[in-house]
């Protein structure tokens, strides 16, 4: 009876730690392979286009609406105690520190994390990954490294672009809907602009990019059992990377601002 209870308690725990170990080994191997040739430039370029260029519309839409909403909300909130003039700096801070990196990363996780898990998962179940191995090509270097490197490099750039678009969204609402003076709005945005706001966003973006690529590739890589397995891998990739993005967002924010 007690044994049965302990077993029921222990099994998921053992499973959890063994998959945690698996993931750690996967991460170490992927990172280690980033620095050892051969490098596959063509694969890297394809990923840069996929993750970066083709994510631009999604990131642009997300951040522009986020900026617009923040402008309206902060205006209606701050007007209660007559601090409407803070709208520009609130938009600036919330977009650069939080909204652009987190929302962009979540959108990219849905778009790219899923695609990575599905593509690599299909390659796994159709034995294409074994085929790579038998053609003496290291699947980590050929498949994982280009994706991880591309995501880590490209996501910060996406977020920088998102910053600009998000602030622009706030400006549009502020000037055309809330009746701010355009020159004053821009002036107060520039006066409040601090390097730290931008750098934290960029650091976050790089970490989120790493999370998205690793979770997408890892789940794809270990998927098994045909179409159902690939579907599961895709779901797991998106869910786990989204949750990790939110957790790490808290951790990084704490590291930079909790003083």
């Amino acid at each position: 009876m007690i044994q049965k209870f302990l077993r029921r308690l222990g099994q998921p725990l053992v499973k959890f730690f063994s998959s945690l170990g698996e993931l750690s080994i996967f991460v170490m191997r992927s990172v280690a392979n980033c620095f050892v040739p051969p490098f596959y430039g063509r694969n890297l370029m394809r990923q840069v286009m996929d993750i970066g260029f083709y994510s631009l519309p999604v990131v642009g839409l997300t951040t522009i609406f986020a900026g617009m909403v923040i402008a309206i909300q902060s205006y209606s909130g701050f007007s209660r105690f007559g601090a409407e003039s803070a709208v520009a700096s609130v938009v600036l801070i919330s977009v650069t520190r939080e909204l652009a990196p987190v929302l962009s990363a979540l959108m990219v996780a849905g778009r790219i994390g899923a695609a990575m898990a599905a593509e690599i998962g299909t390659m796994r179940v159709t034995e294409q990954i074994d085929a790579l191995t038998t053609l003496s090509t290291n699947p980590y270097k050929y498949l994982i490294t280009p994706r991880v490197v591309a995501a880590v490099v490209v996501l910060p750039i996406l977020v920088l672009i998102g910053d600009v678009i998000g602030i622009f969204g706030g400006y549009v609402v502020g000037v055309y809907q809330l009746g701010f003076n355009p020159a004053n709005y821009i002036k107060s945005t520039i006066e409040n602009l601090e390097t730290l706001d931008i750098t934290t966003g960029v650091v976050k973006a790089a970490v989120f990019g790493f999370i998205i690529a690793i979770m997408g590739c890892y789940n794809g890589f270990k998927s098994k059992g045909g179409a159902q397995g690939v579907g599961e891998a895709t779901t797991n990739a998106v869910v786990s990377s989204s949750i990790l993005i939110l957790i790490f967002n808290y951790i990084i924010t704490g590291m930079f601002f909790s003083k």
Partner: protein, 254 residues
């Protein structure tokens, strides 16, 4: 140098509690075509993956050209894979690459051949397996099952490997196409002077390809011999398998 290409001794492999290979011994001579037959799920694929180093056995030794391959480093494995080619059951063609890029993959990535020559070489090998040059620029998804098998075969032999593995080469093909593929396998293996290891449960295919046949049952090789000896054997397991009978010493576990 002995004339044994691959020598496997006392190979053990289990997945959790499920024992798949249980002290398997097998020798393949240089230039010989060995066919391993056995029911589904008897560990035929596991055997090939152990030899290739994709799976690591718990116990036992595998010698290729008198060199131990169990437990060697990743770098060593890559060197080892350069000697090998493999035709996968489902083809396992890279669907993001065109047909010729698939065939020339090993040539470009490992032998560092430049693209133009690699493409010419790929087209030559494609012709060898009976495909027209205009197939080269198609993508694998645009090909029929038989054509995909041919492309898979072309990719397996393009790097002129010393050892070629065939994983159920005729599964999913009609009998005539099966015979064509079997013929191509024979031609290419003999043409390269390669050592071949085929796993199949298609007896027609086994008879046509094999110099020697070995039967895998419960993780061990329980019988081996030539095709002629196969028909004369009084081993009950082998008789049941080649006659395709549900009655006999082999019990089907449902």
């Amino acid at each position: 140098m002995s004339d044994i290409k691959i020598k496997i001794t006392n190979l053990h492999k289990a997945f959790g509690r499920k024992v798949v290979l249980d002290g398997l011994d097998l020798e393949i001579k240089k230039g010989e075509s060995l066919v391993v037959i056995g029911g589904s799920g008897t560990g035929k694929s596991v055997l090939i993956k152990c030899i290739q180093g994709i799976l690591t056995p718990e116990q036992g030794s595998i010698l290729i050209d008198d060199e131990e391959v169990v437990g060697v480093s990743e770098k060593e494995k890559e060197r080892l894979h350069a000697k090998m080619g493999m035709l996968f059951q489902g083809g396992a063609l890279f669907d993001s690459l065109s047909v010729w890029e698939n065939v020339a993959f090993g040539l470009i990535e490992n032998q560092k051949m430049d693209k133009k020559n690699a493409k010419m070489e790929a087209i030559r090998v494609l012709r060898q397996v009976g495909l027209a040059p205009d197939v080269a620029d198609l993508y694998p998804s645009e090909l029929s099952g038989g054509m995909q098998k041919r492309v898979g075969l072309a990719r397996a032999i393009a790097t002129r490997p010393e050892i070629i593995f065939f994983d159920e080469p005729t599964t999913g093909l009609d009998p005539i196409m099966s015979d064509v593929i079997n013929g191509l396998i024979n031609e290419s293996v003999k043409g390269l002077g390669a050592t071949a290891l085929t796993i199949t449960h298609d007896m027609a295919s086994a008879r046509k390809i094999a110099d020697k046949i070995a039967m895998l049952y419960k993780g061990k090789i329980i019988w081996q011999g030539t095709v002629k000896e196969l028909d004369k054997t009084d081993n009950e397991y082998v008789r049941q398998f080649i006659n395709g009978s549900s009655e006999g010493p082999i019990k089907v576990e449902v």
